[in-house]
């Protein structure tokens, strides 16, 4: 199976200031094979991909293409040498049709203008090659996400890409669409195209890959061929040997039911009729930690946002300490002690134009407003207290701009902001997303401590390892419903099976 590599990374390192995103990575990409990059968020996968596709230049090290060292001036340069990248967020113009998207920026010109007929012919040929029945004149916005992905692939192929980098290509696809994509990938490799694949779905990636490269904290921790590895090997190399995210806090008695969700339904955002959360019921006691596990699209985010008041339910109720809060605004729910830590902290959690302190105190302005004016001293006390509680690495005045913090510390600010309102129930949507493993452990420790003091905690995750940490109870969501409920002694495989993740071979 081993021939000379088409593309090799030699000691690639990349630093941003004094942050070392990559520390000397070496690996090879072989012709007609799939190489998968494994690693947690922040391990350096995206940085590595950006370097291979010419988006950024490495600080040191070299890229060897067909045996000769190369430097890519930019992504166009890399594309001209046959390396294309398909980003997680597709870069298609939704308002334009398939043909125009594929030839965007390099239209086939004749003397009298664009040669649409030729473009259309080539598009049809590409689609036939990919065995996809997509009409070149269909507007991209009318295609399903899986088909849009195929269009992206077709665009990459139309420039004769030999190496195709795919960043989380399956994260938004349905199971059948994943099958189609994998078939396309197999066809491509059979034709000699090399694939670099990144995915968080470890099992899925194992189905398709020939080689595995594991990154951790910017360094390559392992490299092996598919035959030699299994799921456990990947997880072990990804998170390190002795890693512990904590265990469920004990030694105290839980209080009465703090949060109770009754038959809650949330309609689909597009309003096409079906519910993303479907008559779901759940109750959480004071001092209890509940983890909600599910794949993307299982309805976790919608459930939590509906509980917090951002989304309106189409049926059911949310009770806080036995009191119906369904009709209340977000602000009123916060005042009653129910708070949400959103999934996307850049988009929903932080105000980037404000300082660390202003972000921390944003949700509890009422607590330091006396009469008409805010009290600087009272605010400083709130801020200093929050910084201490959540151990944000910044000076105690909180005067630093929020953008100067690392992802993990930013996440702690979002959590600290909500904890400063002295809630009785905190729901967190993927609190570990995009933060390094150390910060992850600190976040979980924080939640466990809150629970000891009577806080009811609900958090969602898409990483099984995080279910089996501090949670007393694990709820698995699948298509808007609870498909299983476990205590913390359950095996990982059972959780995955209940989420619909176990793919039949």
């Amino acid at each position: 199976m081993t021939a000379a590599p088409v593309l090799s990374a030699r000691n690639i390192a990349k630093s941003y200031g004094n942050i070392h995103a990559l520390k000397g990575v070496n690996f090879d990409i072989h012709q007609g094979q799939v190489t998968t990059l494994f690693g947690e968020n922040g391990a350096g996968k995206s940085t590595l991909m950006k370097i291979l596709s010419g988006v950024v230049q490495p600080t040191s090290g070299e890229i060897v293409l067909d045996g000769a060292p190369v430097t890519f001036a930019n992504s166009t340069d890399a594309r001209n040498r046959g390396i294309s990248i398909i980003h997680q967020e597709l870069s298609l113009a939704l308002n334009m049709n398939v043909r125009d998207n594929i030839f965007m920026g390099r239209e086939i010109m004749t003397r009298s203008g664009v040669d649409f007929a030729e473009e259309e012919r080539q598009t049809r040929a590409l689609m036939a090659e990919l065995e996809e029945d997509i009409d070149p004149l269909t507007p991209v916005e009318e295609l399903r996400l899986g088909q849009q992905q195929i269009v992206e692939i077709a665009r990459a192929l139309s420039v004769n890409s030999r190496i195709l980098i795919m960043d989380e290509p399956t994260s938004a696809l349905s199971a059948t669409e994943v099958e189609v994509l994998f078939k396309v990938i197999r066809d491509l490799t059979a034709r000699g195209v090399s694939i670099v694949y990144i995915s968080h779905h470890l099992e899925e990636a194992l189905q398709i890959t020939n080689h595995a490269v594991v990154l951790r904290d910017g360094a390559m921790t392992a490299y092996a061929e598919r035959g030699a590895i299994d799921l456990e090997w990947i997880v072990r190399n990804m998170v390190g040997e002795n890693f512990d995210l904590g265990s469920p806090p004990g030694g105290y008695t839980m209080g009465p039911t703090a949060l109770s969700i009754e038959n809650l339904s949330v309609p689909d955002a597009a309003g096409v009729g079906f519910s993303v959360v479907d008559r779901l019921s759940l109750s959480v006691r004071a001092g209890e930690i509940v983890c909600i596990y599910g794949l993307m699209g299982a309805g976790r985010t919608e459930l939590l946002e509906c509980v917090a008041g951002r989304l309106a339910p189409s049926g059911g109720r949310v009770l806080l300490q036995g009191q119906d809060v369904s009709g209340l605004t977000i602000a009123q729910r916060i005042a009653k002690g129910l708070v949400l830590v959103p999934e996307d902290r850049q988009r929903d959690g932080l105000v980037q134009t404000m300082t660390v302190g202003q972000n921390l105190s944003l949700a509890s302005i009422g607590a330091f407003t006396k009469g008409l004016f805010t009290s600087r001293r009272a605010e400083a006390a709130v801020v200093a207290d929050a910084i201490r509680t959540v151990t944000v690495k910044t000076d105690a005045s909180g005067a630093a701009p929020i953008g100067s913090l690392s992802g993990g510390n930013q996440q702690k600010v979002v959590i600290g902001k909500m904890l400063a309102t002295k809630p009785s129930v905190i729901v967190l949507d993927e609190p570990s997303r995009g933060i390094d493993i150390g910060a992850k452990a600190e976040v979980f420790r924080l939640l466990a401590e809150g629970a000891k003091q009577g806080l009811a905690v609900v958090y969602s995750t898409s990483e099984v390892g995080e279910c089996l940490s501090i949670a007393h109870r694990i709820i698995v969501m699948h298509r808007g419903r609870i498909s299983a409920e476990f205590d913390h002694t359950v095996a990982k495989e059972k959780i995955m099976a209940a989420s619909g993740e176990a793919v039949s071979h």
């Binding site: 602000a331 916060i334 404000m354 390094d436």
Partner: protein
């Protein structure tokens, strides 16, 4: 990962950063110095007070505009609202004829002021409601309201101007002049109105919960909403406040002129925006201060008056004003250029 030391640079002395931070201030100093050298009449208290009373109109509009821009919006209707407010004041000063009762009511000046401000607030409310509830882009909503308000002003006056707003002693409505025309301790009332409004708005922005809400919802509305900030209420309120500011500016202007025409204030909204931008506010929202905006207003006012005093043609004034605005925006984009993303 630990905190990155990007903040360290700010604490040390950095002349370029200081120049950038205080650019509106240095620009104002430069303008005063240059014109004082060019004309012997420029550098005198009397001239400064006259220029300041010109600045007052733009400055008052700019305060309202700053609030809207901090929220991430824009209010193109303030110039028209200013004109409309003047006409409403003029209309009320001329006496309101109530046919059924067969009498003509002459409301006292304080009532005229209150009613005019209410009218301004209403115009602002329409803007705010369109933007917050009906999701009309602020640019379009306030553009529409700009035309409507101007049209209503023209309809009210039939295109004519209300003169003689002085009032009559026997009617008990004397005192309209006081607002803009008179002076208190040698300082034009309009300037005092500007100073009062600026202090109030400054306190509101820096020391009240509303101010914090405004900065937060302008910086990131989604995050603010999830933190319990009443984002829509804040949005509507800033347009209402902008409308009231425009009405006050209309009152001061018509008092300065002792007449109110329906076309008063045309294109003033652009000057107000310019003042806010020169003052360092970001049009994307969330960044900006009253101090900066006031400096911006004075830069524009002192520059154009200076050009008049040294006898430069008004065509050249337009060119200079434009150049200053472009330069200001250029510096803004240097100051607010996105920092390198902290990698998690």
């Amino acid at each position: 990962m630990s905190t990155t030391p990007k903040t360290a640079a700010k604490q040390g002395f950095d002349p370029i950063a200081l120049l950038l931070e205080g650019r509106a201030f240095f620009a104002l100093i430069a303008i005063i110095v240059v014109f004082s050298l060019l004309s012997p009449h420029y550098f005198s208290l009397a001239n400064f007070l006259v220029m300041a009373s010109h600045v007052a109109i733009y400055g008052i509009l700019a305060i309202g505009m700053l609030l809207v821009i901090l929220n991430g919006g824009i209010d193109l209707s303030v110039g028209s609202t200013l004109g409309l407010a003047g006409c409403i004041a003029g209309f009320l000063m001329q006496g309101v004829q109530i046919e059924a009762a067969g009498v003509i009511l002459y409301p006292p000046v304080w009532a005229v002021v209150v009613l005019t401000c209410v009218a301004g607030a209403l115009v602002g409310f329409v803007n705010g409601a369109l933007v917050a509830w009906f999701k009309v882009p602020a640019f379009v909503a306030s553009l529409g309201v700009m035309y409507v308000a101007r049209g209503v002003a023209l309809l009210m006056t039939n295109g004519l101007t209300f003169n003689n707003l002085g009032g009559k002693a026997e009617l008990g409505n004397l005192g309209f002049n006081w607002l803009g025309f008179n002076r208190l301790g040698g300082v034009p009332i309009g300037v005092l109105v500007l100073a009062t409004l600026a202090i109030l708005a400054g306190l509101m922005l820096s020391r009240t919960a509303f101010g914090r809400w405004l900065y937060a919802s302008g910086g990131n509305a989604r995050a603010a909403e999830l933190s319990g900030v009443p984002v829509k209420r804040v949005q509507i309120t800033v347009y209402v406040l902008s409308g009231i500011c425009a009405a006050i500016a209309g009152l001061v202007l018509s008092s300065q002129l002792t007449s109110a025409g329906p076309t008063a204030g045309t294109t003033y909204e652009l000057t107000a925006i310019a003042a806010v931008v020169i003052g360092g506010a970001a049009l994307t929202g969330g960044r900006g201060t009253i101090r900066g905006t006031m400096l911006g207003a004075f830069v524009i006012g002192f520059l154009s008056d200076g050009l008049v005093i040294i006898g430069v043609s008004s065509y050249w004034q337009t060119v200079f004003t434009g150049a200053v605005i472009v330069l200001a925006v250029l510096l803004n984009s240097i100051q607010y250029k996105p920092r390198a993303k902290a990698t998690a």
